[in-house]
Amino acid sequence: MAMDEAGGGGATTKKFLYVNRKAPYGTIYALESLEVVLIGAAFEQDVSLAFIDDGVYQIIKGQKTDGIGAKNFSPTYNALGDYEVTKLYVEAESLAERGLSVDDLMPITFEDEDDDYAEKPSIQVVNRAEMADIMSGQDVILSF
């Protein structure tokens, strides 16, 4: 499906930011946001993800969903690098407000093809003002 539709927008490249604001379980927004990111990757746009508010829980380590009947989709975030989605901005204040630090997050990485495929962290912790700058530099923002 994705491949059939890829390239539908021609050669235009826009900056897409997916803003993730909700906890991974409890509502479906996080899972269906990730589905958009994966399909969207086929369109070769300039993609970034932002994690703010409870959205920071989406990429927390050690997720277990056995007790709630929902699929644990957190391993998929580790595959984003293979889709050339390598910019994951996490808001520092959202982490701090929840008693979290970057060490509580999954060590999501990508292989930098411009640097001899060196493994680099995809996650960048930014403060609220920096996040605002990142948002204002986008063409398309989808907030889930």
């Binding site: 499906m1 235009t12 897409f16 479906i28 589905e35 969207g40 398309v140 989808l142 889930f144």
Partner: protein
């Protein structure tokens, strides 16, 4: 002279539960009345439920599906329901119902079911992509 813009609209919430479904409709109508273009309306998450022709609200209430269908007919709108979100929530067209071995379909006139690529394409093609939801 006003600048004409091309809009993409994303509807992320279901009918009646959430104001977003109504606001999206009213915004789309206003955009068209102002002479702008609407490239596509994309229904995602529970928003896919706006596209069932089987909704039967009380007679003194608005019919949200009919509102969309009539707006689509009047302005040749492209109303696209996300297939992945639709399948989870039981929104099917004739082809999908047959393919999935289901005994009925419920997609409303003026709506079509397609993939998430249609959302990305709307983001690329539109001057403004406006989302309605929480």
């Amino acid at each position: 002279m006003e600048v004409e813009l091309k809009f993409g609209i994303v509807v992320n919430e279901g009918p009646y539960t959430h104001q977003a479904a109504d606001t999206a409709y009213l915004f789309t109508k206003a955009v068209l009345e102002k002479g702008h273009e609407v490239f596509r309306v994309f229904f995602y998450h529970d928003g896919v439920n706006n596209g069932t022709r089987l909704m039967v609200p009380p007679q003194d209430e608005r019919n949200i599906q009919k509102n969309w269908t009539e707006l689509a007919e009047a302005h040749n709108l492209d109303l696209v329901v996300c297939i992945a979100a639709a399948q989870r929530r039981g929104i099917l067209d004739e082809n999908e119902a047959t393919r999935q071995g289901k005994d009925a379909n419920n997609i409303a006139p003026g709506f079509r079911i397609s993939g998430l690529g249609q959302l990305i394409e709307a983001g690329i093609e539109a001057d403004r992509l406006i989302s309605f939801g929480d």
